[in-house]
C-alpha cells in the first residue's frame, strides 16, 4: 500500500496513467483491434518529442524565462543539412548525422551568445535566432528533394517485436539523461542554477559554462532530431519541426518538470510524449473533425495540468 502511495507521489506517474487511460479509451472504441499497432505507432512518434523534450527540459530547468523557441527552425535546418550532406548515399550517413549535429550545436551556441553577450531574455533571443535560422533554412533548402539514403530510412523504421529501434535508443538516451541530471555534476549544477542562480554562482558553480553547455545541448538534440525525422518521414522540409515548438514545452511540463526551474523530471517526458501522441491517435480513431480534435487536445492538456498541478511554480 505504501509502495503505491510513494509511486503516486511521483510527479511523473500521472503522465503514464493519462497515457494508459487514453490508450484504453482508444482500444475500447476499436473493440481491441489494433491495440499493439497503436503502441508501436505511438512509440515511434513519441521518441521525436522525447529527444527535443530532454533538451528543452535542461533549458527550462535553468530557471524562469529560460526556454528554447528556436527548436522548430533548428530541426528544419538540420533535416535539410542532413539530407544534403548524405545526398542519398549510404556511405555518407555518419557524415550527414555529424553535419546535422554540428548545425544544431551552432544554433544552440548562437542562442547562448545572444543571451550572454547581448543580455537578451532567452525567450526573445531564441525567438529572434529562430527567425534567422528559418531564413537560412528557406534559402538553403529551397526545392530540396533529396531522399534519405535507403539504409538510413530503413534504420529509422526498424522494429523489434513491435518496438521501434528509435524508441529503444530514446529510452536508453532518457536513462542516460536521467543519470546526467541526478547523479552527475552537470545535472546537479543545472538544478542548482534553476533554484537560485546567484547562490549557485557563489557556491562556485561555473554558471555561464553550464548555461552555454545547456543551450548547445538543446540545439544539438534539435539537430539530431531533424536528421532522424528526415529519415523517418523520408525527406526534409522547412516545416518538419513546427509541431515541436509547443510539444517540446508541453512534454516537459506535463511530465512534472517545474517551469519555475530547479526541478526536473526525465521519466515524465516519456510518459507525457506517449500521452500526447496516444491522445491524438485516440481522437483520430474516434473520427472527429480537426476542430474538435484541437478543442479536445487543449481541454485535456488544461485538465491534466489542473489535476496534476499544485506545484510551487509561477512560470
Amino acid at each position: 500500500m505504501s509502495a503505491i502511495r510513494t509511486l503516486l507521489a511521483r510527479p511523473w506517474i500521472w503522465s503514464y496513467i493519462g497515457a494508459l487511460i487514453v490508450w484504453l479509451a482508444a482500444i475500447t472504441f476499436t473493440g481491441g483491434y489494433g491495440a499493439g499497432g497503436m503502441i508501436t505507432a505511438a512509440l515511434s512518434l513519441a521518441v521525436f518529442m522525447v529527444i527535443v523534450g530532454i533538451g528543452q527540459m535542461f533549458v527550462i530547468t535553468l530557471g524562469p524565462g529560460n526556454v528554447d523557441l528556436s527548436l522548430p527552425a533548428n530541426i528544419g535546418l538540420a533535416s535539410a543539412v542532413a539530407m544534403k550532406v548524405m545526398g542519398g548515399s549510404n556511405s555518407m550517413i555518419a557524415v550527414g548525422l555529424i553535419a546535422a549535429l554540428a548545425s544544431g550545436m551552432a544554433v544552440g551556441a548562437f542562442n547562448y551568445l545572444l543571451i550572454r553577450a547581448l543580455r537578451i531574455p532567452p525567450i526573445i533571443a531564441t525567438l529572434s535566432s529562430s527567425f534567422i535560422v528559418l531564413s537560412i533554412d528557406i534559402a538553403y533548402g529551397r526545392g530540396l528533394q533529396i531522399k534519405p539514403p535507403p539504409a538510413f530510412a530503413d534504420f529509422t523504421n526498424i522494429q523489434f517485436f513491435g518496438v521501434p529501434i528509435l524508441a529503444i535508443g530514446g529510452a536508453i538516451f532518457a536513462f542516460l539523461a536521467g543519470i546526467a541530471l541526478q547523479r552527475m555534476i552537470y545535472g546537479r549544477s543545472v538544478l542548482a542554477i534553476g533554484q537560485n542562480m546567484r547562490a549557485a554562482w557563489l557556491a562556485g558553480i561555473p554558471v555561464e559554462r553550464i548555461r552555454f553547455f545547456t543551450y548547445t545541448l538543446s540545439g544539438a538534440l534539435g539537430g539530431i532530431n531533424g536528421a532522424l525525422l528526415a529519415g523517418y518521414f523520408r525527406g526534409a522540409s522547412v516545416d518538419i519541426g513546427n509541431e515541436y515548438l509547443l510539444s517540446s514545452i508541453a512534454v516537459v511540463v506535463i511530465g512534472g518538470t517545474s517551469v519555475a526551474g530547479g526541478k526536473a523530471n526525465v521519466p515524465g517526458i516519456w510518459g507525457a510524449a506517449l500521452f500526447l501522441v496516444l491522445l491524438l491517435t485516440m481522437l483520430n480513431t474516434f473520427g472527429v473533425s480537426a476542430g474538435v480534435r484541437l478543442l479536445l487536445t487543449g481541454l485535456i492538456i488544461v485538465g491534466v495540468i489542473t489535476a496534476a498541478g499544485g506545484q510551487k511554480a509561477l512560470r
Binding site: 524562469p64 524565462g65 526556454v67 523557441l69 545572444l114 547581448l118 543580455r119 537578451i120 531574455p121 525567450i123 526573445i124 533571443a125 525567438l127 529572434s128 535566432s129 529562430s130 527567425f131 534567422i132 528559418l134 531564413s135 537560412i136 528557406i138 534559402a139 529551397r142 509547443l246 514545452i249 508541453a250 511540463v253 506535463i254 517545474s258 517551469v259 519555475a260 473533425s289 480537426a290 476542430g291 474538435v292 480534435r293 484541437l294 478543442l295 479536445l296 487536445t297 487543449g298 481541454l299 485535456i300 492538456i301 488544461v302 495540468i305 489542473t306 498541478g309 499544485g310 506545484q311 510551487k312 511554480a313 509561477l314 512560470r315
Partner: protein, 327 residues
C-alpha cells in the same frame, strides 16, 4: 581645483549618471522606432506621408492591442501563449455571429472574456504554470475557430469596417488609435492607485497580500483585461481584413511578447510600460514588411531581417541597462 570638482559632479549628474541611463532606457523604444522611420524615409521618402503611414501601419492597431493584452499578463509574471489563436477566434466570431446575430456574437465575446478571467483564477488558485495552461487554451481557441469557420470567409460587420477605414484629417487613423490606446492604458495602469496594486502583484505579491489586497482579484482582473484587449485586437483585425480565417492571428502570440519586451517591459517584476509596448508594436509592424520591401531584401531573407532588427534593438537596450547598473 574647484573647476575639477564641478566637472566631476557634472559627469556624475550628466551623461554617465544612472538617471540619464534610465531616461535613455525609457526613450529607447521611441528611439528604435525613430531609427526605423529614418531608414524608411531614407530608402523611400514618399512613404513618409499621410497615405504612406496609413498603408504601412495598417496592421499596427491589432498588433498594438494584442501586445497590450500580452502586457497585462506579463505584468503579473505570467505569460499568455494563446493570445494569437484567441485573436483568430475573435476574428471568426466577429466575421460570422457578430454580423449575422449581433446579440449572440456579443454574448460569445463577453463569454470568452469570462473564460480568460476564469483562467486567471484557475492559474492562481491551483498554482499552475500559465505557459502550459495557455498552451492548452491555444488549441482550444483554434479548435473553436476552425469549427466556426472551417474555410476562410465570413464578412466584417459594416460599422466595424467603416470604423477601421476612418480617414481623419492630417493624422492617419492608426497613429491616432495607437496614441489613444497607449494613453488610456498608461493612465489606467501607471497612474491610478489600483494600477499600482496590479503592478505590485508582479513586483512583490507577498507585500500586496500583506497590505490587504486580494491576489486572486488582481490576477483575475489582469487576465480579464487580456481578454478584453484580445477581443478588441481580433475585432480590429477583421475590420481591416474584412474577412476572417481561423489562422489569422497565429503569428500574434510571439509578436506580442516581442512587442512588450521591445517596449521596455520585463518578464518578471511587474515592470512594464504601456506606451513603450504600443511603440514596440508599431516598431515591429514597421520593421516587418515596409522597411524590408524598401530595402529590396529577397523574400527568403525577410524573416531573418526581422530577427536581426529585434536583436539589434535589444542589444542597444542591453548596452544601456548595463550602464544603468541595476542588474
Amino acid at each position: 581645483m574647484s573647476s575639477a570638482a564641478s566637472a566631476e559632479t557634472l559627469s556624475r549628474s550628466g551623461f554617465r549618471s544612472p538617471a540619464f541611463a534610465r531616461l535613455l532606457r525609457a526613450l529607447l523604444p521611441a528611439l528604435s522606432m525613430t531609427l526605423i522611420l529614418i531608414a524608411i524615409a531614407w530608402l523611400n521618402p514618399r512613404a513618409i506621408s499621410y497615405f504612406g503611414f496609413s498603408l504601412m501601419l495598417n496592421l499596427a492597431i491589432p498588433i498594438a492591442l494584442a501586445t497590450i493584452a500580452q502586457m497585462f499578463v506579463i505584468t503579473v509574471n505570467e505569460l499568455d501563449l494563446s493570445i494569437g489563436t484567441f485573436v483568430g477566434f475573435v476574428a471568426c466570431v466577429t466575421a460570422t455571429w457578430l454580423r449575422d446575430a449581433p446579440l449572440l456574437g456579443i454574448v460569445v465575446l463577453l463569454g470568452s472574456i469570462g473564460v480568460y478571467a476564469a483562467l486567471g483564477a484557475l492559474i492562481h488558485l491551483r498554482n499552475l504554470p500559465s505557459i502550459v495552461v495557455t498552451l492548452g487554451m491555444s488549441f482550444v481557441w483554434q479548435g473553436l475557430a476552425i469549427l466556426m469557420l472551417p474555410k476562410p470567409g465570413g464578412k466584417a460587420p459594416d460599422w466595424l469596417q467603416a470604423f477601421m477605414s476612418l480617414k481623419p484629417p492630417f493624422v492617419p487613423f492608426p497613429i491616432i488609435a495607437a496614441i489613444v490606446i497607449g494613453l488610456v492604458v498608461h493612465f489606467g495602469l501607471m497612474r491610478t492607485s489600483y494600477g499600482a496594486v496590479l503592478r505590485g502583484t508582479g513586483g512583490n505579491a507577498q507585500a500586496i497580500r500583506r497590505a490587504g489586497w486580494s491576489i486572486l482579484k488582481t490576477k483575475v482582473t489582469m487576465f480579464a483585461l487580456t481578454g478584453v484587449f484580445g477581443v478588441l485586437s481580433g475585432m480590429a483585425l477583421v475590420g481591416i481584413t474584412t474577412s476572417a480565417d481561423a489562422n489569422l492571428g497565429n503569428g500574434y502570440t510571439l509578436l506580442a511578447i516581442a512587442g512588450v519586451i521591445l517596449g521596455g517591459g520585463e518578464f518578471v517584476g511587474g515592470r512594464v510600460s504601456p506606451i513603450g509596448a504600443v511603440i514596440g508594436a508599431l516598431t515591429l509592424a514597421l520593421a516587418a514588411s515596409p522597411l524590408l520591401t524598401f530595402m529590396h531584401i529577397p523574400p527568403d531573407w525577410q524573416v531573418a531581417a526581422n530577427g536581426a532588427i529585434l536583436i539589434i534593438v535589444l542589444a542597444a537596450r542591453a548596452l544601456i541597462s548595463r550602464r544603468e547598473g541595476d542588474r
